[in-house]
């Protein structure tokens, strides 16, 4: 069995001669959660549509589960579940009727159909409202119904376009839990988002999109090292006079950044937590917190575009 479920090579999309996706290459391994991250209009949705054979490919190739979505769209679509951006359902039909229609299109037989509809609705927590019209559903419920559809389909790959956009934090957490659960079921997940922090926690690897190109690709710590430079980032929260100077004098600390009142971020060559603690105490300060900071995607992203201002300026506007 092949361990690569999606493989894109020099994938390019041009609309009327203007390239919106420019020769991107990446691959998604089986059982992995892969994030396509980037600002709106960076080409994420177009990339997804090309993988599903829903829009034509201008150049390059993409293989999904070893099928070519252009030549064998049905084989791809049979095994891939898709949750579009702002997913829509037939408002006049109930949640279960909406799923029933899809189940018939997939070709599930009657007994299997009813069983799968019930179990997938229960799994996403919509069993109570299975017979309510989707017109009465909130945004979060629609997204969950979309995930139920992917579960019902027994998809091997789930492609989720902006699954968390427009959701409140509580619902987002619930939705990310369902997505993690998909992974535990052995489903490979490719998701796109412009909200970096929300998805950082679920993605094994990410590709940062910018203007149709993949700017960065890898795990979040890898990207952190790549963009923010090697070394440790230590967060210090302490009260006292002139602590910044004392911290700067700790051996191994390259830079001290103020991160708010009584908070500093140390960029260091090694783990300087014991030395930093000693320095604070020696200066007569009260140490409140000391931690090694995980690089955040947000910081990586900002730093990257700080270093490549030309590419980022269009989005800053």
């Amino acid at each position: 069995m092949n361990d690569i479920v999606i493989e894109a090579k020099n994938l390019t999309k041009r609309y009327r001669g203007i390239a919106v996706v420019k020769a991107i290459s990446f691959s998604v391994a089986r059982g992995e959660i892969f994030g396509l991250l980037g600002p709106n209009g960076a080409g994420k949705t177009t990339t997804i549509l090309m993988m599903l054979g829903l829009t034509e490919i201008s150049d390059g190739t993409v293989r999904v589960l070893d099928h070519n979505p252009v030549r064998e769209p049905l084989a791809v679509k049979r095994r891939v579940g898709y949750l579009p951006d702002q997913v829509g359902f037939y408002d006049n039909l109930s949640a279960s009727d909406n799923l029933r229609y899809i189940a018939r299109l997939i070709g599930l037989d009657r007994a299997e159909r009813e069983e799968k509809i019930a179990s997938s609705l229960a799994h996403v927590g919509l069993a109570d409202v299975a017979d309510n019209r989707v017109g009465t559903f909130s945004r979060g419920m629609r997204q969950r119904l979309g995930l139920a559809e992917i579960l019902m389909k027994d998809a091997e790959v789930a492609i989720l376009d902006e699954p968390t956009s427009g959701l409140d934090p509580q619902v987002t957490v619930e939705l990310l839990d369902i997505i993690r659960d998909l992974k535990h079921r052995g489903v490979s997940v490719l998701l796109s988002s412009h909200l970096l922090e929300r998805v950082q926690s679920v993605c094994d690897r990410v590709a940062l999109f910018n203007e149709g190109k993949i700017a960065l690709l890898g795990t979040v710590p890898e990207l952190g090292r790549q963009v923010l430079g090697g070394g440790f980032r230590v967060e210090v929260e302490a009260e006292g006079q002139g602590l910044a100077e004392h911290l700067a004098r700790v051996p191994g600390v390259r830079k001290v950044e103020s991160a708010g009142p009584s908070r500093w971020l140390l960029l260091a060559e090694q783990d300087v937590r014991p030395e930093a603690a000693a320095a604070v105490v020696a200066a007569g300060g009260r140490l409140l917190r000391l931690a090694v900071a995980e690089p955040s995607l947000e910081a990586i992203y900002r730093q990257y575009f700080h270093e490549h201002p030309h590419e980022g300026e269009r989005h800053a506007a």
Binding site: T45, L52, L74, P84, Q86, G88, F89, Y90, R104, G107
Partner: protein, 324 residues
């Protein structure tokens, strides 16, 4: 370069779902009420007229379709030629754009079906819905006529009425295909409805009697020789007829006239008829086969129009981007 699997995969599922939507929708209820009311009124008026004028008539049943009471010029055929397009457009104008607006299109097309299935299913479901209504209407009219006239129809009359039913369904197909086309082209259902109804009004009321004749007069200017005698120029008349047949309403009217008036001498040809030809023409009704031969080109025209409009819609739909 052959694509994998059948384009018809899922057509049945889509058809059933759309049919279910059509038959349970509010607009269907309204159309049903309209149909029944109009049928009763039209037949009632026709029967009053038939009773007054005809003592012995071999085509009593067909008179139900074509006679109107004096002063109220609503024959059943005229009423159908207006109601059927309204019904077809009403069912088709938001067929595809509503999928975009509800954001369901990309989700449906991510299932293992081709776009063809969605479009075919929607068209078939629309046509089936109209067929159900028209068959019901047809049975209603014939039953009502039997009851009020008390004369059983002959086999030929029934056959003519049945072929007329099929033609009416084909006529509905043209307008349904047109509505479907505009529902693909325009993202807003309101725009699609307005444009389709506008085109229908133009083709039905302005084109045959005014615009086509004006164009004919430009293409083949009237001969002063004929004008001096107060006669229409045959060439101009012919062009006017050819052009007016671009309108499905003209075709439907002509077919209905030929099929339902077998004993009318002017229903023996759809081209220009000269007085000379009518003089000495044998009296009596035309057999069904002959009427069919006369109306055949028009019937083919209706079906061809449906296919052409549907194909254009199909091509536009295949090229459209799925993202809203």
């Amino acid at each position: 370069m052959r694509r994998e699997g059948s384009a018809l995969n899922g057509v049945g599922v889509v058809t059933l779902k759309e049919l279910d939507d059509n038959l349970t929708s509010v607009r269907m209820r309204v159309l049903e009420v309209l149909i029944v009311l109009f049928a009763i009124v039209a037949v009632y008026l026709a029967i009053q007229q038939v009773r007054e004028t005809t003592a012995e008539d071999p085509f009593l049943l067909l008179r139900l379709f074509t006679r109107a009471r004096e002063g109220i010029p609503i024959t059943f055929v005229a009423f159908l030629s207006i109601l059927v397009p309204v019904m077809a457009i009403g069912l088709g104008f938001d067929a595809v754009n509503s999928e975009y607006n509800q954001r369901t299109l990309s989700r449906i097309l991510a299932q293992p079906i081709y776009r063809d299935a969605l479009l075919f299913g929607k068209f078939i479901a629309g046509l089936l819905t109209i067929t159900f209504s028209l068959v019901a209407l047809w049975l209603l009219v014939i039953g009502f006529g039997l009851y009020l006239l008390g004369v059983p129809p002959s086999l030929e009359e029934t056959a003519r009425a049945f072929i007329f039913l099929l033609v009416t369904i084909a006529y509905a197909g043209v307008w349904l295909a047109l509505a479907l086309l505009f529902s693909i082209v325009f993202r807003s259902p309101a725009t699609a409805a307005l444009v389709t109804f506008g085109l229908w009004l133009l083709l039905t009321f302005l084109w045959p009697s005014v615009l086509a004749q004006m164009l004919a007069a430009i293409i083949a200017p009237p001969d002063p020789g004929y004008t001096a005698l107060g006669l229409p120029t045959p060439e101009t008349t012919e062009w006017g007829q050819i052009l007016s047949r671009l309108s499905p309403s003209t075709l439907f009217g002509e077919i209905a006239f030929v099929l339902l008036n077998p004993d009318d001498v002017s229903a023996r040809s759809l081209g220009a008829i000269y007085l000379v030809q009518l003089q000495g023409a044998a009296r009596g009704a035309l057999p069904l086969g002959q009427s069919l031969i006369i109306a055949w080109p028009d019937m083919v025209g209706l079906v061809a129009g449906t296919i052409v409009l549907f194909t254009i819609g199909y091509m536009v739909f295949q090229r459209q981007e799925v993202r809203a």
